[in-house]
Subunit: 148 residues, 2 copies
DNA sequence: TTGATTTAAGATAAACGAGTCTTAAATTGA
DNA sequence: TCAATTTAAGACTCGTTTATCTTAAATCAA
């Protein structure tokens, strides 16, 4: 698994917020239900995203979470960095420490560009772009095979 | 982490065998020492690789493990499949089940080719190629910063 | 045959990630 | 003010991965 469960859930939640009701507060419970993500787990992930300024929140009735910035100002990379850190884009595919061109492992020439391509995907994609696709083309953010 | 620790260790062990003494049995203890991999853990990984016909072994003095085939007949992909299974090349980046072009998630168009490139790296690279690089260019398979 | 060497196998333990639960604090509206 | 709602925070449980330990079985050489 490339990303941790926390990160997958965080990305899906952010995409949901970007696509359903930009700018309005949505209760974490609603997001949890819509996406099939365990509520308490998502609440903890949301806390981290709030501390990292990806999301903003208010408590009480009509409270919830929303994107902290416009959806076209938030890249997938920002969310991945906030939840999983930079390690996945710096790690050696063989798990060797001290990754870098100084001390390369024999797979470096193939791995470094492949890894960079994955990184570019996250860096160059904004929530806005994907939210548009979800709205106009009906792409999914949840498991459609279970209890619709 | 893309690959499990077991898979990283298995790849490094196989590369070590391909580069130091092709065709001869090397005790797991020696591999463990050379690469800095916990002995008992590596022994268990070696067992799995033997059952998957990646390695062959004999017991007793002068025993050990060696590659089951010529190094140019073993791809990195064979080892990854044996130890981690095909999941990493089939999974959705958002963790959604039922990956496929029928039910795509909004990241599919970017993720599928990036994932395919990583897979191609494993499929197209043989132990032999990397062993040559290790021998001729001195690439590393171990953590050079600890107890040399 | 005997003893040293080495893999085979499985039990056990530690570390981590994933998920659950409880309580507190803030906000809103009646 | 009071009760309902919702996030905030942290303790707790569970399962998998990672790692260690123990014993058995095979092989070889003296
Ligand atoms: S060599 Fe390439 S893959 Fe190996 S550690 Fe350095 S950068 Fe990472
Ligand atoms: S859409 Fe693309 S990424 Fe998402 S599940 Fe299907 S193949 Fe995987």
């Amino acid at each position: 698994m490339l990303l941790s469960k926390s990160c997958e859930y965080g990305l899906r939640a952010a995409l949901h917020l970007a696509s359903v009701a930009p700018g309005t507060y949505v209760p974490i419970r609603d997001v949890s239900t819509a996406l099939g993500i365990p509520y308490h787990f998502l609440a903890k992930i949301a806390q981290a995203m709030i501390q990292q300024k990806i999301l903003a929140s208010t408590r009480g009735p009509h409270g919830g979470v929303r994107l902290a910035r416009a959806a076209d100002q938030i890249t997938l990379n920002a969310i991945v960095l906030a939840l999983d850190g930079p390690a996945i884009f710096e790690e050696c595919v063989l798990g060797l420490p001290g990754c870098g061109t100084q001390q390369p492992c024999p797979l470096h020439d193939q791995w470094a560009p492949a890894r960079e391509r994955v990184r570019a995907m996250f860096v160059e994609t904004t929530l806005d772009e994907l939210a548009t696709r979800i709205q106009t083309q009906g792409f999914r953010l949840a498991d459609l095979t279970s209890t619709p």
